[in-house]
Amino acid sequence: MGHITRAPEPAAHDDVTPPVLLDVRGLRVEVTQAESLISLVDDVSFTVAAGETVGLVGESGSGKTVTSLAVMQLLPRAAVLSGSVRLHGQELVGRPRRELDRLRGSQLSMIFQEARRSLNPVFTVGSQISESIRRHKGVSRTDAWARTVELLDLVRIPDAGRRAQQYPHELSGGMCQRVMLAMALACEPDLLIADEPTTALDVTVQREVLSLIKEAQLEFGLGLLLITHDLGVVAEVCDRAIVMYAGRVVESAPVMDLFDRPQHPYTAGLEHSMPDPVRHASKLGTIPGTVPPAPDFTDSCRFAPRCPYELPECTMGPIPIETTAPLHDVRCIRAGTLDLSEAFYA
């Protein structure tokens, strides 16, 4: 163990490529369970640039949420974090809490899946936003409140002034998520992490919130790390996608590439199970088998038991990530040799 592979810097830079905002390398998260150390996530590397939307995709158990929390340095104390997470080139791992507190909310923000539960029920939504502003900007109560109402307006909450004085239980799920967004944007961060922001919402509301997030990104020039299990969202909103399986990155590519030429069997399997009438009209299947739980993670390919292209070599040793096409990385020894255009599980 301990095989850290550095994700290569995106090759073919031209001079107008925006600067790298978030640089994650060799991220590894371990927890102690029953006297042994189990890794939840390992060898995770990716970057997010300003203005770029990167999707972190995977099923539950893939480690995507753990990764996002690790970036924010919000893991519980029992978790052991190693590797590197750099924001604006500055290392976050191992920084003292006081410094991290200064950065969180002001340079990097996060919004969560269950918005209403993520808001404190005994304080008004407005006060929770103002709190963030006053904490990081040190302005007066009045100024902070004025800015709060502006922000609520920005996220298109009608009657913002009155709503700001309401409590979370008085708002709908969609409105709560907008409030969270407003709160996350309050201090003009550079990076926004959104963990399944629309999963808990109604379908109609989902699109609104998603488009709102994109607008905010454009307006503020944010780097956006979007965690989701929904490939449809990825296709619509993301510039790049990083597919995770059982705690590891298995494929990462620009979105068009990912959908046109998936190189990892898992990615292909995911795409084939999408109910998308345009792309895969006839065949709709699910990948048989289940994601292994963390204690059962192997060193070698973790997808092998479910993979129809498995070879003995797949389970013999660690599989490194390799770049098989420009900006396209895959963790599979048979990458490039397989025809993954048709569903093989249906």
Binding site: L74, D101, R102, F112, S118, N120, V122, E131, M183, A184
Partner: protein
């Protein structure tokens, strides 16, 4: 908000009624004839009958009940069998002492349990936490009079201090003097609820810290003090206040015992004396007033929910 308050007050009415009925019936279930007791062992049947007529004991039950309630509303709770003083006067004289004691006890309880509970919660499973938990568990098991004995042994009869073990001085004698007499009984009473309150605060802070909104607070970059002291604490306050309200009944009960131990001649001790002397009107008065106090305190607790937890206001 006003509607909320009004609704809560109205809820009390049936309880009040039942309280008065119970209090009234206490006399009915007592063996013996009150008139005979007053008249004395050598009185003639006529004399007893005369007294019965005087006391109105020959009228039907519901009439007597209404009369009792009617009088009570006007402040007349009858006359003591033993001292012939109006019960109301005695109560008014002795109640403030108990109120002072109980208030001091509550203050001590709250002031000690909140920080202890917070420390326990923040350093869960540490030595400090475990010590506090064990001590709390033991304290819950020790009855108040045993605690009183320990306190008296070590703080009144030499040992660490020489506080007075019996008696009471009203506040008009100076707050300092009042305190030296009130502190031991108040601490004794406080221990009744201290353990439970500390455990509650610890548990509810721990629960609150697991909630999603704490994760959000951390993601906002709020400091530890703000997260625990403001976000977690205000949520933990609700179960804490609930338990506090429930403790009031126990505290009042404890006051009864503790007052007798320290001879504070307060309201609680009045109740005990009334029992020992079979002074029924006084006993009735004590039970009625205590019941009213407990109901009033419960109302206050209920109302404070409206402030602490906005979700209840709409109910």
């Amino acid at each position: 908000m006003l509607g909320f308050i009004l609704r809560r007050v109205l809820n009390l009415v049936p309880l009040l009624l039942i309280l008065t009925v119970i209090v009234f019936l206490l006399v009915e279930i007592a063996p013996g004839d009150p008139a005979a007791i007053i008249a004395g062992p050598d009185a003639s049947p006529d004399a007893i009958a005369a007294i019965r007529g005087e006391l109105g004991l020959d009228r039907p039950l519901h009439e007597r009940y209404l009369a009792y309630v009617g009088n009570a509303i006007q402040g007349d709770l009858g006359t003591s069998f033993v001292t012939s003083e109006p019960v109301t006067d005695v109560i008014v004289r002795r109640l403030p002492r108990t109120v002072g004691l109980v208030a001091l006890a509550l203050l001590i309880s709250v002031i000690v349990s909140i920080p202890l509970g917070l420390i326990s919660a923040l350093r869960a499973s540490s030595i400090a936490d475990r010590t506090i938990t064990v001590v709390s568990s033991v304290l819950i098991a020790v009855p108040p009079f045993v605690i009183a004995a320990v306190l008296v042994r070590y703080f009144a009869l030499g040992g660490f201090a020489s506080l007075p073990a019996v008696g009471y001085r009203p506040m008009s004698d100076g707050v300092g003097t009042w305190l030296t007499f009130a502190i031991l009984p108040a601490v004794t009473i406080a221990t009744i609820s201290l353990a439970e309150l500390t455990r509650t605060m610890r548990g509810s802070v721990i629960d609150a810290m697991e909630e999603d909104y704490i994760r959000t607070a951390r993601a906002k970059g709020l400091g530890h003090v703000s997260i625990v002291g403001k976000h977690a604490f205000k949520n933990a306050a609700v179960p804490y206040v609930t338990i506090l309200g429930l403790q009031v009944g126990r505290i009042v009960g404890a006051a009864v015992i503790v007052e007798s131990i320290f001879n504070v001649t307060g309201f609680g001790q009045l109740g005990v004396e009334a029992v020992l002397e079979r002074d029924l009107p006084t006993l009735q008065g004590v039970v009625l007033v205590s019941g009213l106090i407990v109901l009033a305190v419960n109302l206050l607790v209920d109302l404070s929910y409206g402030y602490l937890n906005p979700r209840t206001r709409t109910r």
